[in-house]
Symmetry: C2
Subunit: 171 residues, 2 copies
């Protein structure tokens, strides 16, 4: 079974992200707008309790923090994903590192962590320049509090279901 760990932002920010995802993101119907902390990883069905208890340990040590949306950005030339860029914070870095360290299945991340909310992906080069050209000008500044993260699992159709919520800074 595939698992992942993510933050779901407020309804306000999700609605804004969805107004773009609807047109530009083929994953629109599979998962609500989110900040990925740990991308899809395989674990056997009965390991979910172990995963959940490790996550509880990790999240209990991180205090609620401010999530700042900075601007629209793009991963080009690596790929044609367009996203809301989120300001890096100590808390995001700690969560990401803990979820990719020795205590959490020791699955190191191949990429450096760029916190973001995807709003478009799998775009052709032309679509990408067109859409990015329009959206990069947007004044998106937005700040909100994050006080929880979610553990999800993936169904056969590719969609994600929340298994559990973890409140930050709580034992």
């Amino acid at each position: 079974m595939k698992y992942g760990v993510a933050i779901f932002p407020s309804k306000k920010l999700q609605d804004l992200a969805n107004s773009y995802r609807k047109r530009y993101d083929p994953h629109y119907a599979l998962i609500p707008p989110h900040v990925t902390l740990k991308g899809p990883f395989e674990a056997t069905d009965n390991r979910i309790k172990e995963i959940a208890s490790k996550l509880e340990e990790i999240t209990s040590k991180v205090k609620p923090f401010s999530l700042n949306v900075l601007k629209v950005s793009s991963f080009q030339p690596v790929n044609n994903t367009i996203y809301f860029k989120i300001e890096m914070t100590n808390e995001l870095e700690t969560l990401h590192n803990s979820l990719h360290g020795e205590d959490f299945f020791n699955e190191k991340s191949e990429f450096s962590f760029v916190p973001h909310i995807t709003i478009g992906q799998q775009l052709s080069n032309d679509e990408h320049s067109d859409v990015y050209g329009q959206l990069r000008m947007l004044d998106l500044r937005h700040e909100e509090q994050v006080d929880r993260v979610h553990l999800l699992y993936q169904l056969e159709n590719g969609s994600w279901t929340v298994y559990e919520t973890f409140r930050l800074g709580e034992e």
Copy 2:
């Protein structure tokens, strides 16, 4: 903002439900397969913490229980919804009653509670007889444990995001 309370069954049961929902349920992309404990209700944005704390109180008093799928059934003649019928248990009844009682916004349910997982809805009469005629014969017997319920909120596009998970029988 609109809220709801639901149980998400195991991946196995969700995958099975989705194999039908994909074709017969227009809500397929808006929410994973679920058992509704309290249907959509309005509350102001800042009431969510109050709602969550009431839910915590309610769910702490109910022990984990067995969820039994009995058969495929239909709400006809009330409407053309086809569903997996779930066996009523004391725990389901207690959860439902607590979520519709005086302690929980005092919003009485108009309908008697029939626990179910919808697999088809908004079907024409012909589709309904056709699909129900085929599915009512299925031997669906399935049993699993339920140890958590979820509080969700609805986005502007109609999809649902999990706000919080509550484990049954835990303070």
